[in-house]
Amino acid sequence: MEFLVASAIGILTAGGIYLVLRLRTFPVILGISLLTYAVNVFLFTSGRLTIAGAPILRDGVTHYADPLPQALVLTAIVISFGMTAVVVMIGLGAFLGSNDDHVDDQPETETADAEGRS
């Protein structure tokens, strides 16, 4: 099981990195999302893997998953959701302004900007 989870983290990371290195904003954002999944699972596994032991206290039960990483991941999910929304919006704003969704600065737009700016 551990191997499955660890390799899933690795594959999500690899996919994420590959997409982050693309040239348009949209795939890059998707890449970041994949990385976020990877790191959330990674952080989650820092409490190790527990099956059938949700951290909801029940009388007589002593087998619980580590609740702390779960809380941390929950925070991380929320934060990265906010971040995703923001980056999507800024990316959209950049695209609407220049009709170009390259994530890299384009030589010609740079000069156009320089001329266009007051």
Binding site: I32, L35, G47, P69, I79, S80, A94, S98, D113
Partner: protein
């Protein structure tokens, strides 16, 4: 229990939503509230710094849970100094933002500004590593908003890159935190320090990777080459007061490195031997070189200043990488200097932009309000390039002096001094083009958008310059204080005792330490 420690976090955190709720459509009320908040922040920060100045460490247990089970804030000399620096900087930056009208060129400037302060100050005060992550995110997301404040294509494009790069950084932070928790089972810094020491020599892989990942996270914040790429265009494109406020953000990274690598992974820790000492210094030296070369290479004034910030962060990191009390003391002195100087220069660049209509380093007719702007630029450039008599020079002396006995002293001295020369060249070239060459052109060719900066803008910049001067005149006291802080950092026992031995709800101090 005194609640003053949390006041610098809660005050802006309450003020910001209040501004959003009550004063969304009234810039005047927003300004008044924001300014009042920052003034109060300065007062509180001063009081906290005074309280901590005699070595007192104050603990604040959030939700009343004791460390390491709950989150704690720790006010020691270092954290309160950084909080004070932040608030004072914020005051002048805010004055400038109001004076120049930048705050009214988009929505929610003041709310975002307050949130930004909350994030930065929280990062300085927290004693918990995951909480540090949360505050990093708060300060980052507020910075995204401030960075793209007022919009515009170039700014937006730079904003995308800035956000994306920092998202990678945040991801990395979480990887580091996961590794840390997996290895140690805790998140509190003091507790971590204890637990990391328990790790035996036979099983160091995990903690080593964690230590390095954490350092990389902070290195991104501190804009250490080659993780600095986010900085030049985002600082250059950000609205001037925002860029000026950002001058403290790189220091958050430096602060975190100082804190974590004196407390949790001190230089003598066996498990993490041979890590950062291997490449931190080279990276810092390259940062100095890149930064200063950038000053010479830049084609626009705002980029020039951005590169100067990279260079000055390099200087900080050079000294930090020694991990000696002298080095930390010098780094702290330099941090204060570079924050003030960087901020001042960003604002001065905006005075130039206002008076001239653009920041291209090409000859253009004389700018409006040239004399005062030129004077400020001269002083700011002297400070940043590390020329006497200002604090940049003194900081440079401290850096060189602290690194004298390091094995790589020749490298450090060589790079620092040669880069200084390059940056002097760069600043001289820029100043000469902006203020001297302009005299040979006639006003008829001037940009129509040029206008005289408002008096309040000058007051704000002047205030920062005065602070720089004070940092110079009282260099002895400041350096004495930073040395004291360094001493406190290299003797972490009282810190750990304070954090871990203070009981909280349902918990008594642990036995045996």
């Amino acid at each position: 229990m005194s609640h003053w420690i949390i006041a610098p976090i809660v005050l802006p955190a309450l003020l910001a939503p209040f501004i959003v709720l009550a004063a969304r459509y009234h810039i005047g009320i927003q300004r008044a509230l924001s300014l009042a908040g920052v003034v109060a922040l300065v007062v509180i920060a001063t009081a906290l710094a005074l309280q901590a100045s005699d070595g007192t460490i104050t603990l604040y247990r959030l939700s009343d849970w004791a460390a390491p089970f709950g989150i704690v804030l720790v006010a020691d000399a270092l954290s309160t100094l950084m909080v004070l620096l932040t608030s004072v900087l914020a005051l002048f930056v805010l004055l400038y933002a109001i004076g120049s009208g930048w705050d009214n060129r988009g929505r929610h400037f003041h709310a975002l500004f307050q949130f930004q302060l909350m994030g930065i100050i929280g990062a300085f005060l927290t004693g918990d590593l995951f909480n540090l992550f949360v505050f990093f995110e708060v300060l980052l997301i507020a910075s995204y908003g401030l960075m793209i404040h007022a919009g515009g294509n170039a700014r937006m494009r730079a904003g995308v890159q800035y956000v994306l790069f920092n998202l990678i950084g945040s991801t990395l932070f979480l990887f580091a935190l996961g590794a840390i928790y997996a290895e140690t089972g805790t998140l509190n810094m003091a507790d971590l320090a204890q637990r990391v020491a328990l790790i035996g020599p036979e099983e160091t892989v995990g903690i080593r990777v964690a230590a390095v990942l954490l350092l990389l996270v902070f290195a991104i914040k501190a804009a250490l080459v080659p993780l600095h790429f986010w900085l030049p265009s985002s600082y250059a494109e950000a609205p001037a007061p925002v860029a000026a406020l950002f001058a403290i953000m790189t220091k958050v990274g430096a602060y975190a490195i100082i804190r974590v690598y004196t407390l949790i992974f001190p230089p003598e820790l066996a498990a993490t031997q041979g890590l950062h000492d291997l490449w931190l210094l080279p990276a810092a030296l390259v940062s100095v070189a890149i930064g200063m070369m950038g000053v010479l290479a830049a084609k626009k004034l705002d980029r020039l200043v951005a590169f100067a910030v990279i260079g000055s962060m390099g200087m900080v990191m050079v000294t930090l990488s020694l991990f000696t009390p002298e080095g930390i003391a010098a780094a702290l002195y330099y941090i204060i200097h570079s924050t003030l100087a960087g901020a001042a220069l960003f604002l001065i660049a905006d005075l130039v932009r206002t008076g001239r209509g653009g920041l291209d380093l090409t000859a253009q007719p004389p700018m409006a309000g040239a004399a005062l702007t030129a004077g400020f630029f001269f002083v700011g450039a002297i400070a940043m390039a590390g020329l006497p008599p200002l604090s940049g020079f003194l900081g440079k002396l401290l850096v060189l002096n602290a690194s004298f006995s390091a094995p790589q002293a020749a490298w450090i001295w060589g790079v620092v001094l040669v880069s200084s020369l390059v940056s002097i060249l760069g600043f001289a070239r820029a100043g000469s083009i902006l203020f001297w060459k302009a005299e040979s052109l006639t006003l008829e060719e001037a940009d129509p958008s040029r206008s005289v900066p408002r008096p309040l803008s000058y007051v704000a910049v002047g205030g920062l310059i005065v602070l720089l001067a004070a940092h110079t005149v009282f260099a002895g006291q400041m350096h004495g204080y930073t040395s004291k802080i360094a001493g406190q950092l290299f003797d972490p026992a009282p810190y750990m005792l304070k954090v871990l031995d203070t009981p909280g709800k349902l918990s008594q101090p642990k036995e045996g330490h």
